[in-house]
Amino acid sequence: MKEGIARHVVAMRIAKELQDGDYVNLGIGQPTLVANYVPPEKQVFFHSENGVIGVGPMPEPENEDPDLSNAGGQPITVIPGAAFISHVDSFALVRGRHLDIAVLGGLQVSEKGDLANWIRLGRKVGGIGGAADIARGAKRIYVMMDHVTKDGEWKIVNQCSYPLTAKGVVHTIFTDIAVILVTPEGLVLQEVAPGWTAEEVQALTEPRLTISRGLQEISL
């Protein structure tokens, strides 16, 4: 199959959306890459739901603190001016709609912006973690995922077949081949990866895409 852009490039593209002063939660896995690409002139505060506002870069192994991790359990550092809070406060700020943006992974996103990202169909048990609260609570939800599954199946679908994390919450989908905005009128294709056409993206997307009049190539 034709190649899209690399994951770190998707992360760079998402980082472009972050504004100075934003409070942002990055989901476990791919989305954590986004933190690496925030330009130094922007001060973005990263929230980790296990009780940190102001996550800093990953430490060198010799500087790991046994009591300090992100929500994925990876050792982290904190920036000067960080705050530690309990789980109650951490999710109060999520549920109370104080977070500007969350970047989450996705198994499926529907035309209506429903997000499924916690359990595969047929698996008996899955972990929701903080995903349901964060997907429902942050003011803007970006989904970062591959456009189709390894087997080439649609991940952007008319209706999610996997159990939902949250209903009607996704703002924009960033994939290896496209940037797609979720609107009340349906999905709008805003950007395509270099070398890709809108028709090729549509062929890998179940719902009908409206092609933006300002359709562009993904650029950094």
Partner: protein, 228 residues
């Protein structure tokens, strides 16, 4: 008021926990886990536990967590947000027991879990939250539109015992935490009939800054000093 009893052997601190107890254990991703209290529960072999904890996936670089109690088949029901690892490479004891019908599992969104615990400690019976609306987490729950936002009814969650971890306690049981080892420990400390805090150090009353206390000693009944 007298100070809180300080135990040096965790087995003594949990000696009265009966089979069938509802037990909360603090901790997240292996940080802030009351490790010695969990190992003591395992050693004593308390059975039929209803376990309320954030994660039972294990695998945090060999750190002890509440999954040790499931592995030892001491748990009949788990209320948790992150029951199993994301990877399906390993079938955990939790999954085996679940499939064998030996274990009951309730998966709760993490923020809802924290708030249900907080509510119990604060004397609130239930609350409405937008988290989980339109998802499997809303199944069988009352839905109401409040201020134009659909919300579901969630009940508070109390325990007989809360096993928490803190960095320091003073003699009255006031607790301070360290970094992300705080996590679920403060709400859990408020939500149990008996709260037992495992701490790195007990210091004299008056040596912690009153402005810095996260969990006041009114919630804390027993202290255990971590060995070694």
């Amino acid at each position: 008021m007298a100070g809180r009893p300080v135990y040096h052997d965790p087995l003594d601190a949990i000696a009265d926990i009966p089979d069938g107890a509802v037990i909360m254990t603090g901790g997240f991703a292996g940080r802030g886990v009351p490790v010695q209290l969990i190992l003591a529960l395992r050693e004593r072999g308390v059975k039929g536990i209803t376990l309320i904890t954030n994660d039972t996936s294990g695998g945090w670089g060999g750190r002890v967590d509440a999954s040790y109690l499931i592995e030892a088949k001491q748990v009949k029901k788990v209320i948790v947000s992150w029951p199993v690892p994301a990877s399906t490479a390993v079938i955990t004891p939790l999954e085996q027991q679940l499939l064998a019908g030996e274990l009951e599992l309730e998966v709760v969104p993490q923020g809802t879990l924290a708030e249900r615990i907080r509510a119990a400690g604060a004397g609130i019976g239930a609350f409405y939250t937008p988290t989980g609306v339109g998802t499997p987490f809303a199944q069988g729950k009352e839905v109401r539109t409040i201020n134009g936002i659909e919300q579901i009814l969630e009940y508070s969650l109390a325990a007989d015992y809360a096993l928490v971890h803190a960095h320091k306690a003073d003699a009255y049981g006031n607790l301070v935490y360290r970094r992300t080892a705080r996590n679920f420990n403060p709400p859990m400390a408020t939500a149990a009939t008996v709260t037992i805090a495992e701490v790195d150090e007990v210091v004299p009353a008056g040596s912690l800054d009153p402005e810095s206390i996260v969990t006041p000693g009114i919630y804390v009944h027993r202290l255990v000093v971590k060995k070694g």
